[in-house]
Symmetry: C2
Subunit: 184 residues, 2 copies
C-alpha cells in the first residue's frame, strides 16, 4: 500500500499538485492523506498519524517547494510524528524498511535549479534534509518525482505529468501488494 | 542594529539556545524576537514582522536544528513574511543589502555532520535552503555560528560558546552602528 502525505498550504489555488492528486483517484492501493485539510490549525494528532503509517510500505511525500523546503506543516509533522523511540533511536523502528518517494513541484523551470541557475542549487541538494530524515528512520529513498514550473506549465504538460505520476504510484502499489504489507 | 529571530519550539526545555539568548542580555544594538513566544498559535502578524525587519542591517536566524532543518514556525515565517514584491521578485528589495547570520545548535557532535558521519551531510549542505532563501532576497550570508551537541555539552563549554556568540553579535552590532542603519 502507498500512502501519500500531501501538504499544500493553498490547495484550492493549486494547479500542479491538484492535477497530481486528482490523477490518483480510484487507484487501488493508494491513499491520499491531505495534511493541511486535516490540520488547518496545525494541531497534529500524533497517534492518528503514527497509526496511518503502520500499513503502507511506501510513503509518498508530496508538496510544492516553499523557500527551497517543505511547507511548514510538513516540517511540524516531522517534529511531532517522527519521535525518538518510535521512528529513530533505541526502539525506533516503526518506519524501517519502508520506502519514500518525494513528489515535489517547483515554481521555476528545471534549469533554475542548478549550480549556475537562479536558485544556485539542484533539487538533489535541496532534498537533503528530507532525505536524511528518512535515512535516520531507516527508510529507503527512491528517485524523486519532480514537476518544475508548476504555475506556468501548459495544461497538456500538467496532464502528462499527472499521468506519469499515476503510473509511478500504480507501479509502487503493485510492488507493495506483491511484497506483502509492511512487517509490524 | 542586529535583530535575532529566535525560533525554539520548546524554549523552556532548552539548554544551549537559552544560554545563547541569555548571553545577549543588555547588548547594545541587539534585539531578540522570540517567534514561538510571539506566535504560539502560528498566527504570524505579517505587517509586524515586516516592520521589525526595516531597521536591522543584520538578521540572525537562531534555532535548534530539527530534522536537519529549521523548526516549523520558522518555515512558516518565511512563507508568510518573505512575500513576492516585498522580499523578492519585482519591487521586492526590502531585505536587499542586509546580512544574515545563521546561529544553529545541533543534537550531535560535530563529526556526525560529515559525509561519513551518522547524519551523512555537513552543516553547510543543510544550510542550503535557508542560504538560498536569503540569496533570493539579496541578503549576504555570513559564516554561520554553530554549536554542536547542544544536549551533552558540559555547562562550561556552553558558557564559552555563549560568550563567543555575544562577542560575535557585539562585533556585528558595532559594524552596523558604524555603517549607519539600513537604507530604506
Amino acid at each position: 500500500m502507498v500512502l501519500v502525505l500531501y501538504a499544500h498550504p493553498y490547495a484550492d489555488r493549486s494547479r500542479a499538485n491538484r492535477a497530481l492528486v486528482r490523477a490518483l483517484d480510484g487507484l487501488p492501493g493508494v491513499e491520499v492523506r491531505a495534511l493541511y485539510e486535516r490540520y488547518p490549525d496545525f494541531s497534529i494528532d500524533v497517534a492518528a498519524e503514527q497509526a496511518a503509517l503502520a500499513r503502507p510500505r511506501t510513503i509518498v511525500v508530496q508538496h510544492p517547494l516553499y523557500w527551497y523546503a517543505p511547507p511548514a506543516l510538513l516540517a511540524m509533522w516531522c517534529e511531532k510524528v517522527l519521535l525518538h523511540g518510535w521512528a529513530f533511536g533505541e526502539g525506533g523502528r516503526a518506519l524501517a524498511g519502508k520506502r519514500c518517494l518525494w513528489a515535489v513541484t517547483t515554481g521555476s523551470p528545471a534549469e533554475a535549479y542548478s549550480a549556475g541557475g537562479v536558485h544556485g542549487a539542484t533539487l538533489e541538494d535541496l532534498a537533503l534534509p528530507l532525505r536524511r530524515t528518512m535515512a535516520l528512520c531507516g527508510v529507503e529513498w527512491l528517485a524523486p518525482f519532480v514537476l518544475h514550473g508548476a504555475r506556468t506549465q501548459p495544461r497538456v504538460e500538467l496532464e502528462l505529468a499527472a499521468a506519469r505520476y499515476r503510473e509511478r504510484l500504480a507501479a509502487l502499489a503493485a510492488r507493495d501488494a506483491r511484497g506483502g504489507e509492511a512487517a509490524p
